[in-house]
Structures are given as structure tokens and as C-alpha cells.
């Protein structure tokens, strides 16, 4: 019979219409500013800079290597490398970004900067309420606005941050070990050199290359 | 001047406008519109004569106008479809260019 499907459809919408007044669970809308859906862990929108420790200026992991600046497809990152070096979180002297700007209005959230960063210094944020009254400067974030602590990173992406932290800790431990070993070797080499120098001051040229090779190893 | 004279003069004027349009314009659609105008002028005559004639209760003028309107509608439909067919055939509605009998 013609119109059977129409009647079925009308019954369905009528059920929705009255049901939505009776049963609040039918309503799928989330009243946004007051209520919010929990964000899933994989949420990503714009990049930010991670710092270790308490001081955003001193603890930035970024060493201004400018790989992200080169890789950024829409070219929204602008970095000025510092001329001097400062000790980073581990106390090692490193270059740091004198200026680090990201134009969020240009960024396309591709996450390539995160992929290429060898220092795990740039990560994706989940903050989406970024609207600004300032048309040109409002979305141009400098390094002070971009800097967010490692704790924050752990909060928004716990799994990923845990993995990064573990990797970093391992790396640092390895680096420390290597540094210790190197220091030891250096010391040994220096001692050997000193001993050699002391033992055979007359033979001047021959042992020198051996010491040099040992040092380069 | 009596009202009837006014209507008749208006009707004559409309007829002349329609005639002028049908004679001077090249586009077939406009020629058809001109013919419609002439028909309408005649209708106005019928209605005016019905209203100011001696036997308005006979309704002959109104009837003639009604039938004439329906004939005009049929004429417009057929005329415009012929214009469409001619356009499809010769890619023009310019009457001056439609001057060959063979395709």
C-alpha cells in the first residue's frame, strides 16, 4: 500500500518527539559550555613546548635545532637560535631558542614537528578554546605561551608521556654512563700519558700517536 | 467621453501596440507576445461591451472573453513549443534568419 513507509517514519519521529520530553537520556546534545564530553587520550590539535623542572625559561627541552621549522609544511614555526649556551635540565650546556613562535592560525595540526623532533621537546596540545579578540597577534604564540610543563604533558597524554619519560630517562642514564666511562677513560688516558711522559721523557715522538688513538676511541 | 469610449480607445491602443510589436520585433517569442496582446485587446472590448451593452444578464461578452482566454492559453502553449522546436532545429529564434524551407 502506498504510504506505509511514510506512516512508519511519522511514528518514529513522533516517538522521538514525545520520548525526548519524557526520557532525558534520549537527548544526545551536550550543553557545551556547562557540560563537556571527556576528551579521549589521542586528542591533538596544536603543538606546545615541553619544559622540565619548575622554570619554563630554563627548562625547555628545545635546543633550537630548527628541524621542525624546516619540516613544517605551512611554515608556521619561527625560531631564532641563541648565540650562547645555557645548561639544560640535566645541567649540560646547550643552545636554546632565543625566540620560538608558532602561528596557530596557520598551523594545520599535522604533527610533523612532533615526529621530527629528536629531543621530544615539542608535543601536541589538547586546548581548543583558542578564540581571540586580537585578529593578528592573538594566535601568534611565543615561547612563553607555548611552554608547558612535563607534568601537564603527563596529564593530557599519560601513556605517551610515560613512554617519552622512560626513553628520556634511559637515554640520560646511558649518557651519564657514557660520560662517566669517558671521564674514566680520559682520566686513565691522562694518567697513562702522564706516566708515559714521566717514564720516557727522552723518547719524545713515538708514543704520542697511540695515546691519541686511545683518546679518540 | 463616455466610459465605453474610454475602454474602446484603450483597447484600440493596446491592439496597435501589439500589432506594432508583432510587426517590428524580430524575436519569435516577442511576436507571439504581441499576438497575445492583440487578443487581450479584443477581450477588453468584449468585456466593455458586455458591461455597457443593453443585455448584461446574457453574459455573452464574459463567455466570449473566457473562451478567448482559454484559446489564447492553448495558442501560447503550442506557439511556444513550436518556437522551441524551431530553435532546436535552427539554433535561432530570429524570424529574419528563419528564411529557408529546407533544413
Amino acid at each position: 500500500m502506498l504510504g506505509e513507509g511514510i506512516v512508519k517514519g511519522l511514528a518514529e519521529t513522533a516517538r522521538n518527539f514525545f520520548g525526548s520530553y519524557v526520557n532525558k537520556e534520549r537527548l544526545t546534545t551536550v550543553q557545551y559550555p556547562e557540560e563537556r564530553l571527556p576528551q579521549i587520550e589521542a586528542t591533538r590539535d596544536f603543538p606546545f613546548l615541553v619544559y622540565d623542572g619548575a622554570d619554563p625559561a630554563a627548562g625547555l627541552r628545545c635546543v633550537a635545532c630548527q628541524i621542525c621549522e624546516k619540516e613544517c609544511p605551512p611554515k608556521c614555526i619561527y625560531i631564532v637560535k641563541s648565540t650562547d649556551k645555557k645548561p639544560d635540565a640535566t645541567g649540560k650546556p646547550q643552545a636554546y631558542p632565543a625566540q620560538f613562535d608558532i602561528d596557530i592560525s596557520v598551523c594545520m595540526s599535522c604533527q610533523i614537528c612532533v615526529e621530527v623532533c629528536p629531543f621530544d621537546a615539542i608535543k601536541m596540545d589538547v586546548e581548543f578554546e583558542l578564540s581571540s579578540e586580537d585578529r593578528f597577534g592573538g594566535l601568534l604564540l611565543d615561547k612563553y605561551k607555548l611552554a608547558k610543563s612535563n607534568e601537564y604533558y603527563n596529564k593530557i597524554h599519560p601513556t605517551e608521556a610515560g613512554a617519552v619519560d622512560a626513553a628520556l630517562a634511559e637515554e640520560r642514564a646511558k649518557a651519564k654512563l657514557a660520560a662517566e666511562a669517558k671521564a674514566k677513560k680520559d682520566a686513565e688516558a691522562a694518567a697513562a700519558k702522564a706516566a708515559a711522559a714521566a717514564a720516557a721523557p727522552a723518547v719524545s715522538a713515538t708514543p704520542e700517536p697511540a695515546a691519541a688513538t686511545g683518546e679518540t676511541k | 467621453m463616455s466610459p465605453l469610449t474610454g475602454y474602446l480607445l484603450l483597447s484600440a491602443f493596446l491592439f496597435s501596440i501589439g500589432l506594432a510589436g508583432a510587426l517590428t520585433r524580430r524575436n519569435a517569442i516577442l511576436v507571439l507576445i504581441g499576438i497575445e496582446l492583440m487578443l487581450n485587446a479584443a477581450n477588453l472590448n468584449f468585456i466593455a461591451f458586455w458591461r455597457y451593452g443593453p443585455h448584461p444578464e446574457a453574459l455573452t461578452g464574459v463567455m466570449f472573453a473566457i473562451f478567448s482566454i482559454s484559446v489564447a492559453a492553448a495558442e501560447a502553449a503550442v506557439g511556444l513549443s513550436i518556437i522551441l522546436a524551431v530553435y532546436r532545429h535552427s539554433r535561432t529564434t530570429n524570424l529574419d534568419q528563419l528564411n529557408s524551407m529546407k533544413g
Binding site: - | S2, T5, N27, L37, A73, V78, Q97
Partner: protein, 171 residues
């Protein structure tokens, strides 16, 4: 010669004259519509309600739209040379003026000079209906037949030719 008659006559004349002189064909159709609405108002002024509303229904609702469709389909909306006046411009206008002169002369000499004052006929719609069904029933049937024939004929004439062949082939 009332003010309303003069006003409506002016509207009608302006509309129809514009319809016959404007360059753009769509403007012509719109101006024609104005003229025909004025004419319908004149019918109402004369007391012929049924004819007046039928005029609007048929001419504004059907003929003007049909003409507009024809203009769109024949691509005549662009004001080109083909829409301009033909070579008969002077002679055609002269003929029209002569016709008007003759008709006006006939009207002036043929009708009586004093106003005919008849009471406007009343309840004409019901009368029109009964007249259509009784006295004029045969013309009504003929008109119905004519309209059906026109409908079918117009559809067949305007039908796309290759497609017509296809359907014939399928049958």
C-alpha cells in the same frame, strides 16, 4: 472616466508598451505581466470578477511563465542583435499607427457621446457558472477538447527529437 480607470489604463499602457520596446526579453515578459495585471484590474473595474481572476491565473501564472521558460530554453535572454527591431521598423510602426487611427475614428464616430449608466450586473460568478453549464455547455466541451489537444500537441512538438526516436525504438 474615473481616476481609477485612468490609473489602470496608464499602468496597462506603460506595461504593454514596455513589453514591446525593451531590449531584454525577460524584461519584456515582466513588463507584459504588469500590463496584463493592469488589464485584469480593468476587468474587475468593469465588474467581471471571474474573467479578471482568470486573466491573472492564466496570463501571469501560465503564459508569462511559459514565455519565460521559452526565453530561457532558447537562450534569448542575452540582448543581442536578434532581439532588436527588424527592418520593418518604420513600416510596421506606420501600419500600427494607421490601424490605431482608423479604430479610434471608428470608436469616436460609432459610439454615442453620452454616458451609458447601467447598474453593474450582480453576482456574476454564479451566473457565469450556470451559464457555462447550461447555455454554453457545448462550447465548454469543445474548449476542453481543444485544450487537451493543445496540451498533447505542445508536448509532442516540444519533445526532444532523438529521445522520441529512442522511445519509439523501445516500443
Amino acid at each position: 472616466m474615473t481616476i481609477s480607470f485612468l490609473l489602470l489604463a496608464a499602468i496597462t499602457i506603460i506595461g504593454t508598451a514596455a513589453a514591446m520596446t525593451l531590449k531584454n526579453l525577460v524584461h519584456c515578459v515582466l513588463a507584459l505581466t504588469l500590463g496584463l495585471v493592469g488589464l485584469a484590474a480593468l476587468y474587475l473595474e468593469l465588474g467581471a470578477q471571474f474573467v479578471g481572476f482568470t486573466q491573472i491565473l492564466v496570463y501571469v501564472g501560465a503564459v508569462a511563465i511559459l514565455a519565460a521558460f521559452a526565453i530561457m530554453m532558447t537562450r534569448s535572454a542575452i540582448p543581442t542583435l536578434s532581439n532588436a527591431e527588424s527592418s520593418f521598423r518604420a513600416s510596421g510602426s506606420l501600419i500600427a499607427v494607421l490601424v490605431f487611427a482608423v479604430l479610434a475614428w471608428a470608436v469616436y464616430t460609432g459610439t454615442s457621446k453620452q454616458a451609458i449608466l447601467l447598474a453593474p450586473p450582480e453576482g456574476s460568478v454564479a451566473q457565469v457558472g450556470s451559464a457555462l453549464m447550461h447555455h454554453f455547455v457545448l462550447p465548454l466541451e469543445v474548449i476542453g477538447l481543444l485544450l487537451t489537444a493543445a496540451l498533447v500537441g505542445a508536448a509532442i512538438v516540444a519533445m526532444d527529437e532523438p529521445r522520441a526516436k529512442q522511445t519509439r525504438g523501445r516500443q
